[in-house]
Amino acid sequence: SGYARAQARDPVRMGILPVLDTLPLQVAIHEGFFERKGIQVELVSFNSALERDAAMQGGQLQGYFGDLLNTLLLVRNGIPMQVLTVSYASRPGRRMFALVGRPGLDAPSAAAVGSATVGLSNATIMEFLLDALQERAQIPAGTWKRIEVKKIPLRLQMLLSGQLDLAVLPEPLVTLAESKGSRVYLTDGDLDLPLTVVCLRRDLLESEPSFGAKFLAAYEEAVSALAEHPERYRELMSRTCRIPPSLQATFPMPAFPAPGLPDPARVDQVQSWMVLRGMIPERVPYGNLVWRSPQ
């Protein structure tokens, strides 16, 4: 099925999730950067990746924000997604995901926790991250019992009420858990991984050759606007990125990387992991996966 956009004048619909990483997209819409570049973009919010993917497949969206893993799955299923830019990559000193302990768990380090339960959701970037974190911390694979809890708020509640010993959580919930007495054991900070990306359908990019460049330019503008006046967008962040009320005033405004493609080696690392788990039959060539400006 083609992408359902009757006319070039109709807005390009992007499916997003209410998470921090989408802030640059929200800023770009808020400030009218896309319009100023002469393109129409509309953000359509979804509660979870499942529904967003359903709409993607139903041909209702022409682009989306999501994680690298999800993008590869969509490509495998014949939906021609191309990565325009990384929206968030882990960087030292910053954290987007973390392994958090329940309040009162007083092991000084992850290695000292010993046998424990850890909540996560399978077949998502979280599982990939946990594998990577565990490997780096040299904690043997079977040490922790993994418990699938798909709904993130539920996972946090179970952690806070002591029914899970550990949980993989995204920001800003990591900070929230910390404020309720949780200890943060491992973070994605220095893994140097491209975690989330912004994609558009290849057929859109090909039929409107200038669209990709305009989109990226607007996106870049939003990233620098955020870097220049972070506090200006605090209210927007609170409204669109599910910041818990107690953190709305204090949560540090995240910094986003300038637009750029993911590091091929890192993409390869993710793909190997997926091939190993049978999620994709074979690697997607890097060149097919990313969009490069024609010039």
Binding site: V44, S45, N47, A55, G58, S161, R242, P245
Partner: protein, 249 residues
């Protein structure tokens, strides 16, 4: 008196809630009811709340109407005609348990991201319930009533109008009453995509932020919506099934 009892019920619920929230979590799992109600009271003054409520009510009402319009007559036909039932029942029974959630991509494909998809999904789920209840109810109808009206020379249409519809109404209303709960639950599901309006969205969004105040504003709003729908169905039944109040001895 009815009002007093509703207040008593509410009071009991609040008490249980209050005990639970005091016992565990200290607000991590359940906020305390005083907070929740004061937040609810405050939000009643904001257009935001009414906006969400209006969106959800509109969707639910439209879905209920659609479900009724399609399933009530079909249920009557299946319940009253063995021949039709023999062929349609397997179809219904095989498709009934298919979780409708998995039809999401197809529904989105056919009907887009807008309210139409949402309304159709609710009415699909609700419609099955009305269908099964009405079919069962009509199948249990005392055949003497049919005989009696048939003896007056009634055709299919007359039987439908004079016997089957009034006999099926109470069953349809029971299904609708049950359906108010189901619809409200399905709201969660359909308001989790492509909308930022509706109580379902409000609750899920607040839950994602672990913002208990807003979450309970949503929950209380939804309970209110459910109770209102419930009473509306009761009222409709009261008006349309007048004979049911006539039994005294």
């Amino acid at each position: 008196m009815r009002f007093v009892r509703y207040v008593a019920a509410l009071a009991a619920i609040v008490l249980i809630w209050w005990i639970l929230s005091a016992l565990f979590g200290g607000g991590n799992i359940l906020p305390d009811p005083v907070q929740a109600f004061s937040a609810f009271g405050a939000s009643l003054g904001t257009p935001m709340f009414w906006n969400h409520l209006a969106a959800s009510s509109g969707r639910v009402l439209l879905s209920m109407a659609l479900a009724w319009a399609a399933a009530f007559p079909l249920g009557i036909v299946m319940g009253s005609s063995r021949k039709v039932d023999a062929w349609l029942a397997p179809f219904v029974f095989v498709t009934y348990p298919v979780p409708k959630i998995v039809l999401l991509p197809v529904v989105l494909l056919l009907f887009g991201l807008g309210n139409l998809s949402k309304v159709l999904l609710i009415s699909l789920i609700l419609g099955y319930q009305v269908l099964v209840a009405v079919r069962d109810g009509v199948a249990n109808l005392n055949p003497r009533y049919l005989d009696s009206v048939r003896s007056l020379g009634a055709g299919r249409l007359d039987l439908f109008r004079e016997v089957l519809v009034p006999a099926a109404l109470p069953h349809g209303f029971t299904a609708l009453r049950l359906g108010t709960g189901t619809s409200v639950a399905v709201l969660f599901f359909v308001e989790s995509f492509a909308t930022t309006r509706g109580l379902g969205y409000l609750i899920m969004d607040a839950w994602g932020r672990l913002d208990y105040r807003d979450m309970f504003v949503g929950i209380l709003g939804m309970s209110l919506l459910g109770a209102a729908l419930f009473e509306a169905v009761n009222g409709l039944e009261h008006v349309l099934c007048r004979w049911r109040r006539a039994r005294i001895r």
